[in-house]
Symmetry: D2
Subunit: 359 residues, 4 copies
Amino acid sequence: MTRKRCAVVGATGIAGQQFLVALDGHPWFEVTRLAASERSAGKTYADAIRDEKSGARRWWCVEPPPARMLDLSVENGEGLDLDGIDVVFSAVESDAARVLQPRYAKTTAVLSTASAFRYEDDVPIMVPGVNHGHAALIDRQRKLRGWSGFVVPLPNCTTMGLVVTLKPLLDRFGIERVIMTSMQGVSGAGRSPGVMALDIFDNVIPYIPGEEEKVARETGKILGLMGADGVAPTTFPVSATCTRAAVTEGHTEAVTVSLGRRATPRDVEAAFREFDGGLSGLPSAPRRLITVHDDPFRPQPRLDRDADGGMTTSVGRVREDDALDHGIKYVLVSHNTKMGAAKGAVLTAEYLLTTGYIK
Amino acid sequence: MTRKRCAVVGATGIAGQQFLVALDGHPWFEVTRLAASERSAGKTYADAIRDEKSGARRWWCVEPPPARMLDLSVENGEGLDLDGIDVVFSAVESDAARVLQPRYAKTTAVLSTASAFRYEDDVPIMVPGVNHGHAALIDRQRKLRGWSGFVVPLPNCTTMGLVVTLKPLLDRFGIERVIMTSMQGVSGAGRSPGVMALDIFDNVIPYIPGEEEKVARETGKILGLMGADGVAPTTFPVSATCTRAAVTEGHTEAVTVSLGRRATPRDVEAAFREFDGGLSGLPSAPRRLITVHDDPFRPQPRLDRDADGGMTTSVGRVREDDALDHGIKYVLVSHNTKMGAAKGAVLTAEYLLTTGYIK
Amino acid sequence: MTRKRCAVVGATGIAGQQFLVALDGHPWFEVTRLAASERSAGKTYADAIRDEKSGARRWWCVEPPPARMLDLSVENGEGLDLDGIDVVFSAVESDAARVLQPRYAKTTAVLSTASAFRYEDDVPIMVPGVNHGHAALIDRQRKLRGWSGFVVPLPNCTTMGLVVTLKPLLDRFGIERVIMTSMQGVSGAGRSPGVMALDIFDNVIPYIPGEEEKVARETGKILGLMGADGVAPTTFPVSATCTRAAVTEGHTEAVTVSLGRRATPRDVEAAFREFDGGLSGLPSAPRRLITVHDDPFRPQPRLDRDADGGMTTSVGRVREDDALDHGIKYVLVSHNTKMGAAKGAVLTAEYLLTTGYIK
Amino acid sequence: MTRKRCAVVGATGIAGQQFLVALDGHPWFEVTRLAASERSAGKTYADAIRDEKSGARRWWCVEPPPARMLDLSVENGEGLDLDGIDVVFSAVESDAARVLQPRYAKTTAVLSTASAFRYEDDVPIMVPGVNHGHAALIDRQRKLRGWSGFVVPLPNCTTMGLVVTLKPLLDRFGIERVIMTSMQGVSGAGRSPGVMALDIFDNVIPYIPGEEEKVARETGKILGLMGADGVAPTTFPVSATCTRAAVTEGHTEAVTVSLGRRATPRDVEAAFREFDGGLSGLPSAPRRLITVHDDPFRPQPRLDRDADGGMTTSVGRVREDDALDHGIKYVLVSHNTKMGAAKGAVLTAEYLLTTGYIK
């Protein structure tokens, strides 16, 4: 198979860098174009990520920048020519996404980490292994908007681990209500200006603007039923408290669920273990979407975020919650910049390639 | 007034050190005796907290050790003679507490940070400002056990902030159920061996053995009604997920409460603000038991733990929770080693002195 | 005494906030005017430090903002009218300082934390207790520039602890060479954009642009001899390696000095202990400029930065260094945003008030 | 080739665990026996590392325990039978090493991370790529002690990065004196009781007992000349200040060297880059012993410790130091528990196998 040619837009920011890492050496996709803001246009990528004042390389991934990228010329995302490009991976923020992505989508498949189009009726929030059926919204989107490409956003990184673990519970037991408290890594806010060290050292910040609303809304849409008229969101309430913790990467979430019927912790663990998203064969897919820990001290973000390439959701401490009817509680860790962002978008693209939405 | 003479038992550990700091310069209490394990007996306090191998001072409070203490001789807690002592502040762990405290209580008032006697029917878990009526259990305890002193334990440090904030809600609105996720500072586990840096840097540990059960049980007892037959615990369920965060001091808790009747976030804030524990005049009491923040980014442990001498519970982000009937959620920060341990015990002793239980 | 009326310029940034805290309740100085950039002009201070998007208060000191300040109107520093102002405390960065401070200095005393004028021949870098004689440069400055006010900058925060400890060594033993490695807190870079958490968690950053050169140059000037023609810098080399550590506040420095003649560690400790800067009576002065620790595990930034109001330099581990002739090495901790910035500038202003330079 | 059979002694501690990870899937060595203290003897390894009270697995590596190890029975290191064992990797502390290792060495090759035998005249402190010639001391050791095995210790983890970088400088330019300040990760003290989080959060600890003396002494021996009478240590002074930083793994060192003759930073970088330890073909060897960074913000422990499997020493900020004759300074990062401990010992064993000392 010839590899699909990809452009990464917003390539100089932290999310864009994660795309470059996620796509490095990918068997199906090849990054051939880079775009960013006007300020970077015309520079090599190596120059574009070099701080002029200090000479430092502005690169935030632990993995080094792929050598091939350093000499690529960065284009202006505003006027990006998509000739010869099969897929656009877009890492720009929401305001820019709202402007740029419709232009790209006229001709090309666009996978996006921004929230811009998540809540539009004809746009699926794709989560690999969870809501493949929603891909059909792409057809509707194309028809309505007259695009031959499309825009498919990923969910918010905090939504990701939650929906991956709720899906098998919803399917097997039903869900009446969800209460969740997150302790999120700082890389999720890594884009300008990010979390200042002085604000988070020796601290917990109990508020992330807009995050709780996103989690509630996206969970309902992702787990909703695809029908003739689009996706009907689930109606069970999702109440989130989203906090920032002194952690580099990995989101930890304490989840309490009121199930639709009685289930023991063992039943729930079995549902987690047996959850098969139908992703086998996709290069970025984890062996298991959910990894269950018996050790009550797990999952921990530092030890578990990178499990299975950062693509599995680690779960532990499954136990009864006597404060709710059919209450079950557990703790999960999900890698917010792998499964929860760039690498999750790449996995989605892999799925859309095998199903023909990307050609 | 002549100051009451106090012994601090377990004086060399972190909780004991916090007692020395909390009692330094106290207008009503004076530390005149120190006790610890056999290993320290016979040494001056300065020598007892010096590591023999490295010569380092093993002292964990930010405040330096009170100069007067350094020359005091440390006695063996096993055979401590209480002649001339009015109050024992006990910072030993539960196993030792179970053995030593009954000996001391025969003649002397014992305030304890250990869990040893918390769940006995004739022992009140005293929380200053919250359950003064439970002090009457001391009479029952003395009668049943033939003691002229008594044992009064503090609650677990994680229970503390929770019951302080639930009390005004229970009184004004009633409570149907409570779900809480804590992000606890490492100093709460400061006693040997404490939390290792390698375990908690860049991490969250999702389990603290025994903590969740303590929170549920103690909350029920502390908020229970004192009757002729003792305390009848409340019956609403308290479901806790207790995690350890990369924070030195201060416990953060995300609390969701299903109230007995509808109340707006403003009603709840008013209840918090108007909560008056009747502690005025006690030297260690905060101006307000609860401090309400409007800034949605507060409370934060680093910024708020030391408010009002570490004795107020800081609350913020009060908002509706649509996942529960009459649901309200909020975030609190409580100082685990001030209000939640030694200084809270000193405040309790102040209260018991004004009410004649300590003479 | 009537309190001198002060303006704080750059009041909304982290250094400006530290001025407000340092001047809160000051017996000699009273903040009556606040200035910042055009963006803040016309707002109350409370509004100026509120993030518009999130509603959060942008305030970085552990101490809360002084209540009186919140209602003050913020003026535009560009056109600040100094009528009725006795002292300007300037917390703006160097580029702005170069433009604004000469305007202010025409009529008014300006104390500055910026590096802008530090290296000009007629400008003293004042360090309270170390180089009082350099104040005479103010006369020269006024004459040369035709100002009735003046500009006096503080040294870089990393220079501060170093010169405070080198001064008594230079006076008593002479100095041949200095090698220093710093481990600096993040608040020193607190101004926009500051150190990102993702960059410094679980990490050491081995480079702070420009810092090492500043330390070398400023040390030479501050310790230089005041003569008829100005300050003759010292000629011994100062070699610094400046690193950023995962510490909120407090700069730790490992210093190696080749002395002019042999001295034992005890001799050096005596020189430190007996160092009297002649600051008694100044409200912000520490009891001792240098505090010597015997415990080999001290000084530590978390335990020692706030000693004596953050104004003493804590020193420990004084020992011989056999790699240099008459070699001595020690470790120091200095509070970079108290003695090393705003509060140090206030102390300097106190000194200049008692000597008549501020009227 | 049949794989050599290995025993890991002290297998339950953090250093022992690192041996199990370093040897997992090794092409030349196979762990067939595990030993620890009496407390663990007779248990499976899975049980031996399970905390009885909490049920938690006491495992400190980010890599999970090799599955094969979990079922192995742990023997008592005191009476360990070495029948069928070719190599002992010993991770016990010095006191135990002094007793146990001579017993093992009677028949078997012993590689050790303890300091116990480092300073004995007939014992080489082996550093792969740096002092291969010292292996000849093994012959002397065998003869003098009547052993058919041997004891070869690794240097202290802080010495490791230093000697790797000093070696090419010594060979090419000569060395007159060395001054070094380290900022060490907490895992180096990971053995009981390790560094408590409460001690190191938001902090620097300026003292590590015994460390500075070890660095000076070991550096002299390792870089010394092997002669007919053993190793003659180098005579240039090595002055170290060893501090503990808030870093999980990786030691950062700021090094100042007075060279024997003038050399530019470019000359020094060339010496680093061209340093070839003759390790090609050894499975655990890095591609380069030293990796030189141009970016002045590197090396950083979080980004560089794992480079080349944690086996390369990363160097940056090479520049002149005008405080010393022919002064050069640089910053290095070395992985203290890979190259600086277990994996470094495995690399040494690989070398000794290829040279016939291990058979």
